[in-house]
Assembly symmetry: C3
Amino acid sequence: LTDSLALGQRMHALAAELYPIARSLTGPGVRKTLSILKREFSPITIHEVPSGTHVFDWTVPPEWTIREAYIIDPKGRRICDFSLNNLHVVGYSVPVQARLSLEDLQPHLYSLPDQPDAIPYVTSYYEERWGFCLPHRDRLALEPGNYIIHIDSTLAHGSLTYGEALLPGESLDEVFLSTYVCHPSMANNEISGSVVTAFIGKWLAALPRRRHSFRLIFIPETIGSITYLSRNLPIMKERMQAGFNITCIGDDRCYSYLPSRRGNTLADRAAKHVLRHIDPNFRQYSFLHRGSDERQYCAPGIDLPVASVMRSKYGEYPEYHTSKDDLTLVTPTGLLGGYNALRLILEAIERNVCPRITVLCEPQLSKRGLYPTLSKNEYDRSIKTMMDLIAYSDGTKDLIQIAEIIEKPVWTLYEIVSRLTAVGVMEDGH
Amino acid sequence: LTDSLALGQRMHALAAELYPIARSLTGPGVRKTLSILKREFSPITIHEVPSGTHVFDWTVPPEWTIREAYIIDPKGRRICDFSLNNLHVVGYSVPVQARLSLEDLQPHLYSLPDQPDAIPYVTSYYEERWGFCLPHRDRLALEPGNYIIHIDSTLAHGSLTYGEALLPGESLDEVFLSTYVCHPSMANNEISGSVVTAFIGKWLAALPRRRHSFRLIFIPETIGSITYLSRNLPIMKERMQAGFNITCIGDDRCYSYLPSRRGNTLADRAAKHVLRHIDPNFRQYSFLHRGSDERQYCAPGIDLPVASVMRSKYGEYPEYHTSKDDLTLVTPTGLLGGYNALRLILEAIERNVCPRITVLCEPQLSKRGLYPTLSKNEYDRSIKTMMDLIAYSDGTKDLIQIAEIIEKPVWTLYEIVSRLTAVGVMEDGH
Amino acid sequence: LTDSLALGQRMHALAAELYPIARSLTGPGVRKTLSILKREFSPITIHEVPSGTHVFDWTVPPEWTIREAYIIDPKGRRICDFSLNNLHVVGYSVPVQARLSLEDLQPHLYSLPDQPDAIPYVTSYYEERWGFCLPHRDRLALEPGNYIIHIDSTLAHGSLTYGEALLPGESLDEVFLSTYVCHPSMANNEISGSVVTAFIGKWLAALPRRRHSFRLIFIPETIGSITYLSRNLPIMKERMQAGFNITCIGDDRCYSYLPSRRGNTLADRAAKHVLRHIDPNFRQYSFLHRGSDERQYCAPGIDLPVASVMRSKYGEYPEYHTSKDDLTLVTPTGLLGGYNALRLILEAIERNVCPRITVLCEPQLSKRGLYPTLSKNEYDRSIKTMMDLIAYSDGTKDLIQIAEIIEKPVWTLYEIVSRLTAVGVMEDGH
């Protein structure tokens, strides 16, 4: 497994390129983001779904384009300038050109009294509003007088844009990765998700052999997953063996896991197993703490096996949904840790055979050079792992289950499985 | 839910009216008690089952009538006078008219050395005996000499009497309540059971709508439940969804729960859920601590879903089965607490739908005015409860199960279920 | 249950007789051991399986005979003399006659630096080697010079020898005991196993009635169980209800239990129940700590219900596999404790009915003289046990399960089952 910091730095560089783009649910920011991701990971195909399309109980919203937005204060200074930080404008703000007193402006301002230096992230996708976000400290300094409001935006029929890559494998059975591309300039939530997913895609595409097919999607959150599900549900239900929602995967503080609704799917088992072995202190949330696209993937009647693997979970770190969630919070080592965890999980799924011993009783390993011929008081540790694997290889348990029973990281078993299979005493009982 | 002390006081007044009556397994005390209960709760029908009737492995015993009983001590004083306290006579004592030395009298006396001021409660239903109960302090003061024994009782062919009320609902499915009317002047065990059950009956009878039918019985303990079962078992097994043995439900000290033998029936789940939320310190007993009619309701081959909801459990408080179990131990607030707990449990069963979301993915609640349209960092608590309810409403879990999963009292979900059902995104998946 | 120390002393005397014999996987030591065991427990039949026989993935090895073995040191003294302690020679050493420098001799010597006074036990069954074992202290004292090596052994076509006793019962269903006879002079591991198994066999043979048939085998470890399984697997899988590997059952320090691979078989339930009640501090190992013939009995595809009941487990006491595992470590009380535990376990299996009450509701026990007719505040303890047994006797649970539920040793229930069966209110629901 690579631990090359160079890889972390390449991911961080991509994050830095994507960070300033003014993304929202729809519009040019999403398209620009997807085109950069496609440059890095070419199997991505771009899809457009027209505004007004009915997707289950929802409707694809109008497309939002924003060109300029700012306020001129009573002294003539330009403040809350969108061109300086795209968090200054409430997402999906309607166009406005107005002169308002401070008192009339106040209901359109958003700030965080307990984080006076941070610009909060606010959106209003499903009701027509306009507004500006600013540090609370700046808001308190606003003087009475007339303010000129300028928002040059369009909210019009257009489309919802998403990216999709399908990497075929030996089987039609699929592993699914979903991440989102609708957040403006914030790094952990959510440039980290797109970056790590694209790099995982590159690694998958380069594998000499894939047992599973892999489906990776880059969507706007909520309406994007609902839209995608409304177009692909039957095939997803038929083929998906395990799926992951990739979000908040770039900081350095911890590892986090949020289960699927059922909680015991292959995705859950693989994620919990890997995280327990790479970081015994990883944070295990319950499905009651959900808040991203697993809300849709695990909804009643959808019920896909989708779990979330994260570093610091959304809603659980102070910088969440503010301008402080930036590229100092997300680091090369943070991204690399998330990438490596996810890669170990996907490998665990790829190599998850259901081993079965082909002989009755223990095989005689000494005649095959796999067992010491001299009795000793101390049982060699690697021999012990091999014998434990054999003892549970009855064709009813997969390798992840056996690794849990025998209390070893599953990746320490791959080589033993290969060796035992090569000498003919083990086969895949799937 | 009412917390009106007035209701508690009305229950306490009824308890005070019933308290002095000389009840036993059979006889005029039971009939008088049932007639007062019927005056309060008119749906009660009185049944008489003749002595000698075979009921499973048992036989209905002779009817016991007692008119007078006392002892004249050597100084000519009347002691152990039944007219002063009906606990003075061993229940089912045969008539006796005799003169005995103190030495010969002693084997017929019962007292409690460790509770020297209390008269114990003793019966001898299935072997012909006579005896007197008295405070140990008084017993020690008895002087040598001749004692005149007088018990004017009749043990003769008659009948076993019980009361039964059936409140029909929209469904033939039944909820069952059983309490007993065979204890002489003791308040928690057992006037409290009859009183609370009668008042619950009044509440049920006044409901505008009942989904379930309710069956309430007022019986002598053990032989009464065996007799009732011998006459009604097939219909009980077919219809009973949940049942409760109502006993010791009038004091103020704690809440207690004793499971059915299977332990996981609807009755158990509803009782445990409600008690956990109204009193996290409620006492949870095991079926090994059983001692009342659940012995019959949960016997092998009977196996009805009957749990016990109590305040201080029989056998577990110092006044149990003595003259100290009186109307100072049972209080208006104690009775009211028991009544309210039971009512919450019955409501949980009445409203226990099996909710199912009618759309795929999360419903779009903002277009129905049920969800905020402005993104916020803090998730509103009531929205959170609604979204959690939706997430688990897959038609396979009932509302009590969902309440357990999402860690909310089930009664906080009724209104949300109504609202979501009204806008068409939820239905009962039963 | 006998606790007669005389029995322990008889077992210890047999252990002392068997101790000095030079056992190995095959050869005259095994035959002599089996002939002494057959003298004590006559149902044993001796079987011989020719060298070279294919047994599953293994082959029966050549037979090993050793007559003499020693080293002459540079001063002409005889050391490592097999006739003084048969642990001095590596098991299955090929014959050798040689003169070697100390340097060339060293690779053939085995000792324990951390136990300098003990001779270790070493074997080389599946590769041709020769070697000597000695106390590390003696090894360090060896002087440079020429050493004369003398091993007069034969490794030649012969047979593997094992003993088998089948004690027929009323049913063809079998209980299985397996112990091994391949260890040279060591007492807990493993003369204790043969001795206790033979004495258990004597007790079983003398029983007036056996519900189950009992199969007892005395085999060399690993190759013996593989050989036995290869000849008897179909009938073992069809008939075996419970089995035990009897090893390390003679010291005085603790009781130990190692489960079958499935972990919840009748053998496991009986063993855990009995050990918990005779010694709440018994050591419970997991199947990951296995190391004896349960490796074969519980292998994938074999999957027999075989658990291990021990005193100090192999590999877990300092004297294990050294000359210090002698007849001071194994004691009369140690052997007796092991015997008694095993006997209670086998009795629990023999008497493990599936009780069912024949009447509905609780039976009326007072009319049968089994229940007090006078109500009392204190529930008599033996009545309580009887009523608890009745409450769970629904024909779906066996007596061991009920004993676990009602938290009583199963042997306290046998008499109650007999009494209730005699009066006709209980039957075996198997």
